[in-house]
Symmetry: C2
Subunit: 320 residues, 2 copies
């Protein structure tokens, strides 16, 4: 661990540098990408995953160029790369690498989960690495943090946490998600005490993350908490004071700045707010938008989000 | 849907044809693969993901050749491919394609999960496909069935089920896993009725799968039920009479034929039993094993598993 900066500290440094706790989701849906990013082969019916992946890379690089000075991190959702097969995974790798080059942290929204040794293999893929001989270690899809589904319990989470501590990486556990049917299991009341399941998961996140708290007071183990349920956020914030909340659901999914204030601590830190669709597709159905106009709209969307969150935090007295 | 054979029927036809309900896991760990599958570059210190992936492909093809006449399906665990990066994913694609060529069904053990539209992207990657123009659809990682973690509720499962029905594919929901800490969340007692959470998940699996039951009485929606908890299996079998159980944990994880009888229905169907390590690594630490000897050991391990399960079912009167 010597010399490795814990994830919480690395992240807060970027938040301070960019004056933002916004995260730009990178969820490329080929059908919604402006024509300007598509080569001639794509439009002439000669489509292939390779062409699609090239368009996705160009599209993401453009968004990253605009976002890099304005936000601390991006969050590619890997499902939108896996759907384009091996070429899509190549686009994921190139996107991650470009974002890092531009000084952004990368949160791989992978929601991986499995039992002990297999969870270890996933962790190796995203946070750790494979020994290649002569002391070198190579990582297949090397990101700064991942999302993890903890339904399998601690031995499915531990391998990720071990790599997180060793390599200065972060882990975000799904606690309360932002979709309509998240209540189906997550809100079930437990016989022992009557609290909902998601609060029990939150207690475990706090417990599991206690030994990974950095200099600035935040753990390498964070939590995914949907912005669509601000009432839940308050309870969860007090159950997990050391956890950084990754808050999806801002923008297109309905959350707004005032809804997410409860996800922050009194110090004005403790949450990252993600928006994907509102920043990836500010052009709506207008696929013939020009490159300059697209860049402008992406920039406006990021700035508006930063201002909305910043204003809401100031109104609530959580920012000096 | 016209002309598409439901997954339950496709699977039972293979079970009848092979006289087996065993599934061979394909969980390649490069460090445990016999030297005979490794090229000169691999041993000389000039390692790369590409060399490792080539070894994995050769290793898997050998196991598939041996297993194809003896079992209905294989189950590659995708974490063991993702850990070798893009090259590992290439090995996954080649393994899936070779297994299908040899007449095996392929269950992608991917445990994917996300909210609505993103769950749809995962389903597109593994069960559905991307429209490529001119009426063709291409699927990135085209398997016959996947495992899914349902912690996010029905809108995270529905896209998989829609593709399953449309394309004759299968979905297995994690209900009760085989790892030691699975009790941490899955066994929590619920306030409403006092049953454990995993039984509540089981009820949902039954409900969600009711409209996808094939001619032979089994649904396209199955359940992952760990063999390490035979007492649970009995209760779950009665809660999900139409579900095919995918039972991991046979062999190396401690389960035996007698433990998994409760996963089957009275008709002798209704469960697939998976073994990975005992069949992938019958050579233990002896990496210098010859090709012929390795094949022989794999064959013996598969035959022993088939005989153990068959004998246990006959003893229990569940097979004619």
């Amino acid at each position: 661990m010597k010399g490795i900066e814990p994830f919480g500290d690395r992240l807060l440094a970027r938040v301070d540098e960019k004056h933002s706790c916004s995260v730009v989701g990178l969820d490329p849906d080929y059908a919604r990408i402006p024509e300007v990013f598509k080569g001639p082969a794509n439009s002439s019916g000669g489509r292939s995953f390779r062409c699609m992946a090239d368009s996705i890379i160009a599209f993401n690089r453009c968004i990253i160029d605009v976002a890099a000075p304005l936000v601390p991190a991006v969050k590619p959702q890997i499902a939108y790369y896996e759907m384009y097969g091996l070429e899509g995974m190549r686009a994921f790798v190139e996107t991650v690498s470009y974002a890092k080059e531009k000084g952004l942290l990368v949160i791989g929204d992978v929601k991986r989960n499995d039992i002990g040794s297999t969870a270890g293999a996933y962790s190796t893929a995203y946070l750790g690495g494979v020994a290649m001989g002569e002391g070198t270690v190579e990582t297949g899809f090397d990101v700064d943090a991942v999302t993890v589904n903890a339904f399998l319990g601690w031995d499915g989470v531990r391998p990720f946490m071990e790599d997180a501590v060793r390599y200065g990486k972060g882990v975000f556990i799904l606690v309360k998600t932002s979709n309509p049917s998240s209540a189906e299991f997550q809100d079930l009341r437990l016989a022992d005490g009557g609290a909902p399941l998601y609060e029990w998961v939150a207690r475990k996140v706090h417990e599991w993350g206690q030994n990974a708290v950095g200099r600035r007071g935040y753990s390498s183990l964070g939590a995914v908490v949907g912005a669509t349920y601000p009432a839940h956020a308050r309870a969860l914030r007090s159950l997990m004071p050391r956890a950084i909340f990754l808050v999806p659901g801002y923008g297109a999914q309905g959350g707004a700045g005032k809804d997410i204030v409860a996800c922050f601590n009194e110090d004005g830190y403790g949450a990252l707010v993600n928006a994907s669709r509102s920043i990836n597709y500010p052009h709506g159905q207008d696929l013939s938008i020009s490159l300059e106009e697209f860049k402008q709209r992406v920039r406006e969307a990021v700035l508006a989000m930063n201002a909305d969150i910043d204003g809401s935090l100031r109104s609530a007295g959580r920012k000096g």
